[in-house]
């Protein structure tokens, strides 16, 4: 199996790596770059926990070959906070108790971040649509929707 030299801009930092042709984006982010905030749940694209942003669009890192996103800008949950200051969405999730075990949270946060970028004042239904591909077995979703609503209102 061949290895290919790949450049990624991960959370604003340019990283150059040797990547195997069959390596998943989630494997590269977790194992090679140590970004443990990438949570792999089902591994088959059903749960949305492994979502990262590639050029601003949510992508399931467990179902994406790392070589296919060469040269692109990748944002993981680690890239949301600015130093020690949390992103307003992260603050809102804590405020509203929108996480319990926290396994789905990185995917929820990143998908919500993208939603608020294109639609700064979403309805509850817009949020539900954007987060439809993200499973949470703890919260029952209401608190997550509350948290995104509150973050959107806070930013206006």
């Amino acid at each position: 199996m061949r290895r290919i030299v790949c450049t990624f801009v991960v959370n604003g930092v340019t990283r150059e790596l040797l990547v195997e042709t069959n390596a998943l984006l989630s494997e590269v982010l977790q194992d090679d770059l140590g970004l443990k905030g990438v949570h792999v749940g089902c591994g088959t694209g059903d749960c949305g926990a492994c979502t990262v942003l590639v050029d601003g669009l949510p992508v399931l890192s467990c179902s994406t070959l790392a070589v296919t996103v060469r040269g692109k800008e990748i944002t993981t949950v680690e890239g949301m906070a600015n130093g020690t200051k949390l992103h307003p969405l992260q603050e809102s999730f804590i405020e509203h108790g929108a996480l319990q075990c926290g396994y789905c949270t990185p995917g929820m946060l990143l998908a919500s971040k993208r939603l608020l970028e294109i639609n700064p004042s979403p309805s509850r239904q817009d949020i539900k649509d954007a987060l439809a591909g993200h499973l949470c077995r703890c919260t029952g979703y209401n608190k997550i929707v509350d948290a995104v609503m509150a973050a959107a209102e806070g930013e206006e």
Partner: protein, 314 residues
């Protein structure tokens, strides 16, 4: 799950993709969005020597309207297609089926070409290698018998594309490019009718474009599902109504969609059409709902979809 080993090639043109396919003596798979292929690779349901990435082919990423056709490149994502103003205005049935496909995250990744050429699904097939080895390989895996219907000679796994149904109802055509040359054919003609080899495509053929006649239509897509997102259809009906009549496409049950052209829209014709769809539907216990229920729902969804359009038109 760790992927098996394979080579990776990124094609910049359709011709280059076919050349890569030939380089690997046909043991290559084409990759677009990957939402269908990646789980198949992980489950070892497909073990290619190489994956040929089609996402870099710029010419397949555009939507254009001219000469009375809307032409959609196979690389257009479901999300972009859903938000296209022409699709919204002219083809409501396609808009609804795109909306009903999986969830927004996957719609942004999955392409229309990949959605049409997705593999069929079965409760006994989409399982891990260990599970399938213990159970014994079925017809679709190269085994001797079907694990759902013992002694069946044909695989009846379900074709689960939402958008194929609405595109067939809209009389869409597809362009194919392959080592043997290019051709254009009706979308409903690319199916073999057998679940173990779903498509009647030649080796190495690539679906490049889909085109729909630019004629305003009314349409409804009805889908039987257990959740309101992510899941595949357990039975589905798409109806497109134009000046010259209604075309209904039934899917989610069996390895190929079925087409019904309604001659009239009176209550009798609709009832007869729905009854015919019910009679034709060969549902077997290969999904999460019972085959009897899914078959009855084909009839119910058929009538519901047509009647919805008729009542909206009043």
């Amino acid at each position: 799950m760790i992927l098996p080993g394979f080579e990776y090639r990124k094609a910049a043109s359709v011709a280059e993709a076919i050349a890569f396919y030939n380089d690997f003596q046909g043991k290559a798979r084409y990759l677009a969005g990957g939402t269908d292929l990646m789980p198949l690779l992980k489950y070892r349901l497909s073990t290619p020597a190489a994956v040929v990435d089609l996402k870099g082919i710029q010419e397949l990423g555009a939507i254009s309207a001219d000469h009375g056709w809307l032409t959609i490149g196979a690389n257009v994502t479901l999300f972009d297609l859903k938000n296209d103003p022409v699709v919204k205005e002219y083809f409501p049935v396609l808009c609804q089926s795109l909306e009903a496909t999986s969830c927004e995250t996957l719609q942004m990744r999955g392409t229309i070409g990949g959605n049409l050429l997705q593999d069929t699904r079965c409760i006994e097939y989409n399982k891990t290698m260990e599970w399938r080895t213990a159970r014994g390989f079925c017809l679709k895996m190269g085994g001797e018998t079907c694990n759902v219907v013992p002694h069946s000679r044909i695989c009846l796994s379900n074709y689960c594309s939402d958008n194929a149904l609405s595109l067939i109802a809209l009389s869409a055509e597809v362009s194919l490019a392959g080592p043997e040359g290019d051709k254009t054919t009706g979308l409903e003609k690319i199916f073999s009718g057998c679940g173990s080899r779903v498509f009647a495509l030649g080796p190495g053929e690539i679906l490049t474009r889909i085109r729909i006649p630019m004629e305003k239509s009314r349409g409804v897509y009805e889908k039987l599902r257990v959740r309101n997102s992510i899941d595949y259809p357990l039975a589905a009906v798409a109806v497109a109504m134009r000046q010259n009549g209604a075309r209904v496409c039934v899917g989610g049950v069996g390895p190929a969609p079925r087409v019904y052209d309604l001659t009239g829209t009176d209550a009798g014709s609709v009832r007869d059409g729905a009854q015919k769809a019910y009679t034709d539907a060969r549902a077997v216990p290969n999904s999460t709902l019972s085959p009897t229920y899914r078959r009855k729902m084909v009839r119910a969804l058929f009538r519901r979809a047509v009647n919805k359009i008729l009542s909206e038109g009043k």
